[in-house]
Structure formats: structure tokens, C-alpha cells
Subunit: 360 residues, 2 copies
């Protein structure tokens, strides 16, 4: 097992990655597990992993309250949040209770936001069981729920006190969700690490076959890349925006089809191809590299063409994205594979061309 | 006008106190008012002060979206919060929008929590128009909404970027609310400043007559006392708990009668007398000083006797308070007038005696 540090001053924490991490409670500081634990999970993950984690916590002396949410992005809502508050208050949880978020990105975001706001903020531990959550959402402290008017509109920056990422939990992951996680891994290679991109081209088959060693490698490398960026820009006022590569396009796809039609990672996969095309339009990325991105995204089992929403509708949806400043669209584009930049004032024609290159 | 600094590192800010502060936009950093403003207020305050503030903001180049909530503690809820989110999203507010909270503690708490969670946190300015908000809730960054199972259970620590406290806005304050604010002023004297307590005994008539100079003095002194405590304990892990003097009792009264029956400050007023009685029971405070507290609270127009809820019900309600740790009650008590301490393991008999001394 590897323990990677996310350096954030007094809010620093470790991400423990490896086989068995899911129940590696002995890796955590004893203060985290000495009292009351609210173990928040969902109905799909609970039968698979909750028992094991709960047993490990109980063996360390914790008293565990289990709260099970319905599965899916459709439940990343105030209703789920209120259910958590209600259960915790009924069970007399207090400021010293620690939340454990066991599940994918939705559980992590909702449980993390519950921890951020319960009695004005309590500790929480992320135990991500999807690849997407392990390589992305469990690290960095972003928590949120959706609002009918937009995804992740309501939330907080609230860093976990630890993350436990076990590649074995990916054995039960549906194929689509494995692919969705790989989208964020490809993104990390594209924006910060050409060597990782090369490695992915060589090992995509092993990843798709769920080779535990290959998965552990991409989780570690992804966490390192993300942690380095978060460490210099915790609240996304600058360079952290680079992590949104492919996301402005991706959010538009998700919102345009209705959240939940495509998985977030699927939309990001197509968004990465669109961002590569846009980078080529801007004269930065070589056509050959755009083809490599498209091929790698496809090999990860992800869509490389966006839905035919119409160009105007794409613009409308993208300008509703919360990265928008005073109505001006801002994109993350590539200088080359492994190096990203924030592009302001992108010409409309370039965006249109990128969309047309990637829509049926 | 005086400008008092709340020293919190990169989250430091100024509290501007004095006649005309309500529209003293030139005291704020230009960046705060250069773009979009969400001016959140309520239906009672809006006709009195919103026009003036809005005009001052517009004159400085801001574009103002006004959001008006219903009045009262009963609306310190998710419904109000969601209304704010919805209006702001519909108007395309973004991460660079600044919230102005114009009103009393409820508006400040709800608007502050909206700012803490809108797109994971945006800037906000407190413009408190009640004495309670000016001397207490607008400073220190506590934001919250109520939950059916308890007051202020859901919230965040989110510091404002500035506070504008104008004693002239108290001219229109109902008598009960003036008294409610004085409860927190008396509290500040009791816990940190015997000279302020003496001053209040000498000037209570002037305060009750709404003398602007007297009011400005207690606002300034209260902000100084609170700012000094918040500066060393922003997140209430230690000494900030002293500010809860009278509040464990007070919350029990509010919850026992149903929120909104007594004003928060009224319940705190009685809670202060109960805390003084408890301090005497513990052998710390002299009987004469308990009498002084009781007399001053009464002169401020506040109740000095709690409702007859029954001793057991008081204990039940107090143990639901969020300051409770693993079911153990913790009280703030006085060593002497002007010096408070955290009392753990308070004997049940002393608490019972304090309650009996203050309940009909």
C-alpha cells in the first residue's frame, strides 16, 4: 500500500492506495475512529463493502451509524442531504462524529457536503469504490449537490481527513463506470503528464481487464497529479481550473441530455476529444495528437462523438457552466500532450469547428 | 465612523461602525462592488433600507439583484436558501458575485450560508440592521439554517469580507428586538469586560432610549470583544465557546417553547441569569453579582424567569444542543463578572438549583 500526501498545511491528509485499503483502519489516526462514525453509503455498494468496513471500524472501537442512500446521480440532491442530517441528528451525532463516505462520486460529494455543513463542519474520510472517485472526486475537497438549474451548483470546499482507495473494489464495478473513471485518468495524462498518456496507450488493455496492479498505478499517478495541483490552488482561483479539461463540453452534454443519461465520465471522455479538437483549431495541438486522444478515449470504451444537440444549444448550455465569468466562455486547452492552459476569449469559430468535428 | 479589524489572516476584514455605515460603500474595497451583487433582505427591512443601499451600490457601478425573503426565524430554512439559489442561478450569478446581507440575524445567517455554499463559496458583506446582528451574529463567520430537529444545525464557518453596522438603522427596530440585542451586549460584559458591565448599569436608560452615541459605543465594544475571541479560535474548538454564555439554557427555552415564541435574545437574557445562578451554585460568583445580572437583564426589558417546562424537559432539551459532547453537558460559567470559563462535569444538583431559581 502507498500513502500519498496531499499538502494543504493544517488541512493536509494522506491518500492510502492499494489492495486492502478499504478496511485499512490502522492507517488512520486513532482520533478519527475513537468515537461515533456515520457510515454513509448507497444501496448498491452497501451489500458489497459496508459490512467489511463497518467490522474494521467496530474492531477499532468505533460506534457506527449506517446511512444508506438510493443509488445514482439523480439522488445527489437536497433530499439525500436532508435524510443524512435527519438520521445523524436523530442518533445524536455531534461535532466529534466522523463521516465515512463509502461509494462513488455521488456518495462522496453528498456525504462530504453533509460533513462540511453538519453543525458547521465535521471530519470525514473518503472511501471511494469507483475508479472515478478514486482518481478524481475523493481527492481535493470539492463537495456538492446538484440544483435543478445546474450540476454541483451548491457545495463547499471541505478537505477529507483521509482517503482509502482500494483497487479491489473495482472488481464489481460495471463496465461503463470503469470507462468513466478512465476518462479522468486520460485527462490527467493529457493535462500534466505525457508519460502517463504514453503508459495508458501501452496498458489500456490491462486496465480494461481490471489488472489490479495497472489500476493501482493509475490511481497513484492520478492522485499525485491532482494533489500537486490542489496543493497550490485549493479553492480553484487559478491553476486548479486546468483539472476542468474537457469539462465545459462534458457538462453541456450531461445537461443537454438530462443528467444521468450519460455518465459524467462518458461526457468528459467526449469532452476531452472536443478539447483536443479545439486545441488543434487554436493552432496548438498537432492533428496526430488529436487522433491519439480520440483513439485512446475510444479504447477506454468511451464515446468520442457528442449528441446532436445543435451548436446554439451547446453554447447555451456551456454558458450556464459555473466556470463562466460574466458570460465569457473560458476553456482549458492543450499546448501539447502533457501541458494545458486556460484559454480566455476563444474565437467562436474555433469552438464551433471543435463541436462540429465531434458531433454526429 | 470607526473601522475595527477582525484579524483572521487572509480572511481578515473590517467592521465599519457608525452613523451612515449602511451606505458607506466607499469604505469597501472596490473589487467587492465592481460586478454583480445579490442583495438579500427581507420584507420588513426592504422598504426601510434596501433602496438606500441599492442606490449606493449602483452609484459605485454594481449591478444589483434584489432577493427578498419572508420575515422571521420560521424562515431560516432550506426553503429560503433554495429560493436564494434559484434566483441567483436564474439571474446567472457566478463565482464573482458578491452577496450583501441586509437585515437581522436570520437574513445574515441564511444569506451567509447561501454565500458559503453557492458554487462552493462566494464573498459576502454583512449589513446588519438589528442590534443583535450588529453586536453578535454579523461578526465571526457563523452561518446556518435551522433543522426541524434543532436550531443552527446546518451551516458553515464563512467569514464576510466586510461588515457595515449603522446605529441609525436601530431607530425602526421593535422594542423587543432592541432588548434582544442588549442581551448579547450584557453577555459580552459578563464574560470578558467588567467595565462594560458597569457602563451598561450606568447607561441602560440611554440605550433603551436609543441614544445613537450610546448604541455606537456598545456595538464597537461588543465587536472588539467578539473579534478578539474569534481571532484566536475561528472554528470554536476552544475559547470561542465562551461566547455561548447563557446559550445552552437559552436554546432549551427556545426549543421548548417552539422557535419563534421567544426571541433568541430574550431566551439568552434568561439564560444569562440562569448561568449566573449556576456560577453561584458552583461557588464562583457572589450572590450580589447574581442580583446585578438579574437587575440589568430586567432593565434591558428582558425576561428573567424561564418557562415552566419541567426540569427533566430542560435537561432533555439541553442535551440536544450541539455543544454537547458524547451526551455530557457543558456550561459556560463565570469566575467573576468579566471572566468566564468552560465548566465540564457540572453536578446535576447545581444545574437543577439554577433552573429552579429562574423558573416560575
Amino acid at each position: 500500500m502507498q500513502s500519498l500526501r496531499v499538502a494543504l498545511g493544517e488541512r493536509s491528509y494522506f491518500v492510502h492506495v492499494g489492495v486492502g485499503a478499504l478496511s485499512a483502519i490502522d492507517r488512520l489516526e486513532p482520533a478519527i475512529v475513537k468515537g461515533r462514525i456515520a457510515l454513509i453509503t448507497n444501496e448498491v455498494v452497501a451489500p458489497l463493502y459496508a459490512e467489511r468496513l463497518e467490522a474494521a471500524l467496530t474492531a477499532h472501537g468505533a460506534r457506527v451509524l449506517r446511512i444508506t442512500l438510493p443509488d445514482g446521480e439523480a439522488h445527489k440532491t437536497w433530499a439525500s442531504l436532508d435524510h443524512i442530517y435527519d438520521q445523524m441528528l436523530a442518533a445524536r451525532c455531534d461535532r466529534h462524529t466522523t463521516v465515512f463516505a463509502l461509494g462513488g462520486g455521488v456518495v462522496g460529494d453528498v456525504a462530504g457536503f453533509a460533513a462540511a455543513t453538519f453543525m458547521r463542519g465535521i471530519d470525514y474520510v473518503q472511501v471511494p469504490t469507483t475508479l472515478l472517485a478514486q482518481v478524481d472526486s475523493s481527492v481535493g475537497g470539492k463537495t456538492a449537490i446538484n440544483h435543478p438549474r445546474g450540476k454541483n451548483m451548491i457545495g463547499a470546499f471541505h478537505q477529507p481527513v483521509a482517503v482509502l482507495a482500494d483497487p479491489l473494489s473495482l472488481a464489481t464495478l460495471p463496465d461503463r463506470e470503469l470507462s468513466a473513471g478512465l476518462a479522468e485518468v486520460i485527462k490527467h495524462g493529457m493535462l500534466a503528464d505525457a508519460a502517463l498518456f504514453d503508459w495508458l496507450e501501452q496498458h489500456m488493455d490491462a486496465l480494461m481487464a481490471r489488472d489490479a496492479q495497472a489500476l493501482a498505478h493509475v490511481i497513484q499517478r492520478s492522485v499525485e497529479i491532482k494533489a500537486a495541483i490542489v496543493a497550490v490552488d485549493e479553492h480553484e482561483t487559478g491553476v486548479r481550473a486546468l483539472l476542468n479539461l474537457g469539462h465545459t463540453f462534458g457538462h453541456a452534454i450531461e445537461a443537454g441530455l438530462g443528467f444521468g443519461t450519460w455518465l459524467h465520465g462518458e461526457a468528459v471522455g467526449t469532452g476531452l476529444v472536443m478539447a483536443a479538437e479545439l486545441s488543434r483549431e487554436l493552432g496548438a495541438l498537432a492533428a496526430g495528437d488529436v487522433s491519439r486522444v480520440r483513439a485512446l478515449v475510444a479504447r477506454a470504451g468511451l464515446p468520442v462523438s457528442g449528441p446532436a444537440l445543435g451548436i446554439e444549444r451547446y453554447f447555451e448550455l456551456m454558458s450556464g457552466d459555473k466556470k463562466v465569468r460574466d458570460g465569457a466562455l473560458r476553456f482549458i486547452t492543450l499546448e501539447r500532450l502533457g501541458e494545458a492552459r486556460i484559454s480566455e476569449g476563444t474565437p467562436r469559430a474555433a469552438i464551433v469547428a471543435a463541436l462540429e468535428a465531434c458531433c454526429d
